[in-house]
Symmetry: C2
Subunit: 234 residues, 2 copies
DNA sequence: CGCCCGGTTGAAGCTCTTCAACTAGTGTGG
DNA sequence: CCACACTAGTTGAAGAGCTTCAACCGGGCG
């Protein structure tokens, strides 16, 4: 169970991709279905790579996908975590610029893949689909503004707490009970935007306060509300 | 004159809104023209306010517009600066969520205003326009990723330098010679995401190094390439 | 005239990073 | 199968960088 407070905090930072298929006419759904084909990846597999040309669009069916940006200086940023139901890769398919980011599988991943050509055809021939995408992309803007302000002037502890709550919600969708966050320290550090050491220290504090249980790279939040309460006003 | 290096750095952080009107058929351009009406604002005027319901879409004709987000805890973030040719407010018009941000005029501002209803009609009846908006929004994603990584783990001096170069490009479009950045310290601090004092100190260093000339809130970059060179690899 | 806000500077302190060392897993090749 | 190499995880100590608090100047406005 997740409290309203926690749920609405998370809402500030995650995309609402249910909207992509919302209210689509049956023929459109059928076309989407018929032009997509299933692909599978193992934990750690590269789904697409920064610098490559975009191949098409992915609809995540099971598992999680992390999006990573590496700056010219080699600085890694973990930009986003997709969960089942989310669409990704469609921005590159639209602009046809080379990928600015890499997509990497977390756990076993299944996706439905739609090629660039099919996707563009979908947009051109199905106005309601195109409109849904516009609304979805617009909503994502709001998320980025919040994310930016999260990264700015919030303490490492606060950022870690928020990131853990987001990860909890993401990993929850994998369906295991109890929900366990399986995430390496380097990934966690790149997600909250600090060094590994700072991440470890902040995590140890949460451990000492009894807010989380840690064993290796598996992190379990004992009480989401208590973790939320430790944040203070954002 | 701006060097290629400086120009391509700035390209990483600014939207390309020329694409919105690119290749539109004459009738579409005509409809856009006929449903928009001119509005004027003075320096500091609120064009729309965080929390209000969206009224419509704005096409910036002259002056600059700053987009500000204020967190529940009162933390301000200067999210973006629009320049002539840019469109803004269309994301809210699409989602119809209340504004998450405020838009404030810098200098004398002229905009063309299109009401929500007219805008939605435009999208529904002009597929090429709708497609252009999709591409434009997709491109903006790239900008946000870069912006996020800029805010993460770069020093205040580096962030200030980049922000000054961005502001220089924005203010340049106002057409004054020489290009002068008219920007208060609090705004500058909210833009780079640090305290006012840190901003002032970093700016003083640039002043001491002869990279910028400062008089009150007017900042002139003496040599954009030299300022760029002071950054090091990003 | 006094007040408030913007701009600036100094000093103190805290937060986060850096560097270094050590332990614990994990996979590879002899 | 074990030696080893490599990465992940953890902790400590030192120090850089940024914030906070405080004080001061100056200009615009009621």
């Amino acid at each position: 169970m997740m409290s309203d407070q926690v749920a609405s905090l998370i809402d500030l930072f995650v995309f609402k991709h249910q909207r992509v298929l919302e209210g689509l006419p049956q023929p459109t759904l059928h076309v989407i279905d018929s032009c997509s084909n299933r692909r599978r990846f193992q934990n750690g597999d590269l789904i697409f790579k920064q610098g490559d040309s975009p191949k098409g669009v992915f609809i995540l069916k099971s598992g999680l996908v992390k999006i990573v940006y590496t700056s010219p200086a080699g600085q890694r940023t973990l930009v986003y975590i997709y969960k089942p139901g989310d669409w990704f890769g469609y921005r590159q398919a639209l602009t046809m610029d080379n990928n600015q980011i890499s997509a990497i599988a977390i756990e076993k991943v299944e996706v439905d893949f739609i090629s660039n050509d099919d996707f563009i055809k979908l947009i051109e021939e199905h106005p309601k689909f195109s409109h849904n995408l516009l609304v979805t992309l617009s909503h994502e803007f709001t998320i980025w503004v919040k994310r930016l302000s999260l990264f700015t002037r919030l303490s490492v502890k606060t950022r870690l707490a928020i990131c853990l709550l987001i990860l909890h919600e993401r990993f929850k969708s994998l369906g295991q009970e109890p929900t366990v966050i399986l995430f390496s320290r380097p990934d966690l550090a790149d997600f909250i935007g600090v060094t590994i050491e700072s991440t470890v220290r902040a995590l140890s504090e949460f451990k000492a306060q009894g807010l989380v249980a840690v064993r290796g790279r598996s992190i379990r939040i004992k009480d989401t509300q208590a973790l939320y309460d430790s944040i203070g006003e954002v």
